[in-house]
């Protein structure tokens, strides 16, 4: 391995490759900030550039830099504007945006940068050590387990089911799942619930829905009730995180790097599920007092999904590099680029072209480091976006939501759907319905149904639930994650009542 490391270092530290990493990170960060252009589309756009370079190591290094940059850029828009452009950063806006509204935008971005860095770096370390061994584990997961994994991911909605809100959170999740069934499914080639409209044939667009649920209502609320976003409190004064905060998020980052990485290894699971799962798990194991902070600007709630989605992105390279199986849309595009460069990823990659394999791993370390070094000084300027006068900021937010929905589909009807859903979402927000569960349900719904149907067909019935121990285990975990918090509150309430009873008895 040491030999491999040295080969990698030698390749990655050439001047050309260093420039590639830096350039890739910058391009990724800036384009990634535009909602609607996620890592997948940016990498797809960069492919012609990468292929024309001819050197597979340099091309992969450039693309890896773009990938990391895009993920970080995506988190910036979800933290600052509540406009998550990629499904993987939706969970970051749950706590990141409330932090930005409390005037801690700089701190939130710093935490995001550090968490991303740690997640990416620890992920790369794990990739280096475990890649060969993990490739066989990834194949153990069948559709039944994926279905169970999605159910565990759905338990993240518990974070939004506050006091007297359980039915509302549940209804919103179900509504999200219902919306995911619109259009043509992967397994059944027939349009469902499209009401005969051609525009609904492919279902609702994710970005349209994300913008309509998160960014548009926020912007409308800003219009309805002007708040001083540029007040003196909003100076980006506490950019640094205190020692105490660092201490409290360190274990979160550690746990989520590992968990996120292993979820990323599973083909098809990827960054989105890793971020929701990370959020759900961290919320459930947090102490009672901190648990109530989640969703209102908890630093743990921001660090968890940020770490997990970066670690998962790194993890998704395991099946790509060792088996030649792309686990996500992004890695599928990378696979295409590799094949175009005459490199075939697979079991023989490490033997035939060790310099490619190791150069990718080294470039992950360098990419993460460069991203951190580039972004920490830039954060005050990025956060300044919030101090733009509202007469300019709001039209721009609205314009970006429109742009995001338009670029994805190139269809003006999508914009009307966006405005329609945006109005519905604003009314729902008036009545205190949580909107995040709807989006979680929508994102996970399609995958949930596909995997469930696939396993139903494989087992000709529902028997896979008890015949596959791993499925059963995951489903049990999901039940525990949902039941445990309510059981804990009930017990605490009972204890309080008892204490009060004794006091009154005296």
């Amino acid at each position: 391995m040491l030999e491999g490391l040295l080969i990698g270092l030698q390749t990655a530290f050439s001047l050309q490759n260093l420039i590639m990493v830096i350039g890739g990170c910058l391009i990724g960060t800036f384009i990634g900030m535009l909602p609607g252009l996620g890592p997948m589309s940016i990498i797809a756009i960069m492919i012609p550039v990468a292929i024309s370079m001819g050197d597979p190591s340099a091309a992969l290094i450039l693309l890896a830099g773009v990938y990391y940059g895009a993920i970080f850029g995506g988190s910036t828009s979800s933290i600052l504007l509540n406009a998550p452009g990629v499904a993987g950063t939706v969970a970051s806006s749950f706590d990141g945006y409330p932090m930005a509204r409390q005037g801690k935008a700089g701190k939130a971005l710093t935490i995001a940068a550090i968490a991303s860095f740690a997640g990416g770096t620890i992920g790369a370390l794990l990739l280096m050590v475990f890649a060969p061994a993990l490739s066989s584990v990834a194949l153990l997961f069948h559709s039944a387990e994926y279905f169970a994994l999605m159910v565990v991911g759905l338990s993240a909605i518990a974070a939004f089911a506050g006091n007297g809100q359980v039915a509302k959170a549940l209804l919103m999740t179900l509504l999200g799942l219902i919306m995911a069934t619109v259009g043509e499914g992967a397994l059944f080639n027939m349009p469902r619930f499209t009401m005969g409209l051609m525009d609904l044939q492919s279902g609702f667009g994710f970005i349209t829905l994300a913008m309509a649920m998160f960014a548009l209502p926020e912007a409308l609320f800003l219009v309805l009730k002007p708040r001083d976003t540029a007040g003196p409190d909003n100076e980006i004064k506490d950019l640094r995180i205190t020692r105490q905060e660092a201490k409290s998020i360190a274990p979160v980052i550690g746990r989520q790097s590992v968990q996120g990485f292993f979820i990323g290894v599973l083909p098809g699971a990827g960054a989105t599920i890793a971020s929701f799962l990370g959020y759900a798990v961290e919320r459930n194991i947090a102490p009672k007092k901190e648990q109530e902070e989640f969703g209102k600007g908890s630093i743990k709630g921001l660090a968890a999904p940020e770490t997990a989605n970066n670690a998962a992105c790194t993890g998704s390279f395991v099946p790509l590099l060792t088996l030649g199986i792309p686990g996500s849309g992004t890695t599928a595009i990378l696979l295409g680029a590799l094949i175009a460069l005459n490199v075939t990823p697979g079991p023989r990659l490490m033997i035939d072209e060790p310099q490619v394999f190791w150069a990718v791993i080294m470039s992950m370390f360098i990419g993460n480091l460069v991203l951190l070094i580039l972004n920490l000084p830039l954060i005050p300027y990025i956060a300044k976006v919030l101090s733009v006068p509202r007469t300019f900021l709001i039209p721009f937010i609205l314009f970006f939501t429109l742009m995001g929905a338009y670029i994805g589909q190139n269809n003006a009807t999508e914009l009307l759907i966006l405005v329609g859903f945006g109005i519905c979402a604003t009314i729902l927000k008036f009545a205190d319905y949580p909107l995040a569960p709807l989006l979680i349900g929508f994102i996970l719904g399609g995958m949930l149904e596909d995997n469930f149907s696939r396993s139903m067909q494989l087992y000709d019935g529902i028997s896979f639930i008890w015949e596959r121990p791993m499925t059963l285990g995951l489903l049990v975990i999901a039940v525990i994650l949902v039941v445990l918090p309510s059981w804990r509150t009930r017990r605490e309430r009972a204890k309080e009542r008892k204490a009060r009873g004794i006091a009154e008895g005296d």
């Binding site: 219902i178 309805l224 300019f392 914009l415 405005v419 205190d432």
Partner: protein, 160 residues
């Protein structure tokens, strides 16, 4: 009845229609080979419709007790907020959606950004025009030229 229960009632209706479609109309055209499958395209929607109707009923009937709290904006006094501005901006977005194709990206976007600022009370015309021009040109160049996603820049009649 509070707004949240009205909304739940509306959602109950939507779920009812959805459920009706799933239970009674969807399976009619199902080809025979699919009928032998253990799972039908309507299986998942059937389960969802029942669960969602249950959750909506819980809210409509007010079975779950929670303290009534007033959110960030009290919808009962909606008239006291800048409702006019919000509605005008929504109308502007609809107009943008309808006009994007006919008058082209550059005209529609610059108009949207300027009018949006005007609705919000900005009156520094020169600044608005400069900002809108830079932003429109920049985004168009990035999306159309750098990224290669086609967006018609000019009005339909000026394109050959």
């Amino acid at each position: 009845m509070a707004l949240d229960r009205w909304i739940a009632l509306v959602l109950l209706g939507i779920c009812g229609i959805y459920g009706y479609a799933a239970w009674f109309t969807m399976d009619a055209g199902l080809p025979p080979f699919m009928q032998r499958n253990p799972i039908w395209p309507s299986t998942f929607p059937k389960v969802l419709s029942i669960l969602a109707m249950g959750a909506a009923l819980v809210i409509v009937l007010g079975l779950e007790k929670g303290e009534e709290k007033i959110g960030e904006i009290d919808y009962r006094k909606i008239w006291e907020y800048n409702l006019g501005q919000a509605l005008l901006l929504l109308a502007l977005m609809v107009a943008y959606a309808l006009l994007l194709r006919p008058i082209g990206f550059i005209g529609a976007t610059a108009g949207f950004l300027i009018l949006g600022s005007v609705i919000l009370g900005e009156r520094r015309w020169l600044l608005m025009i400069v900002v809108a021009a830079i932003a429109t040109g920049g985004v168009w160049y990035l999306v159309s030229e750098v990224l290669g996603i086609f967006m018609a820049p000019l009005p339909a009649m000026m394109r050959g």
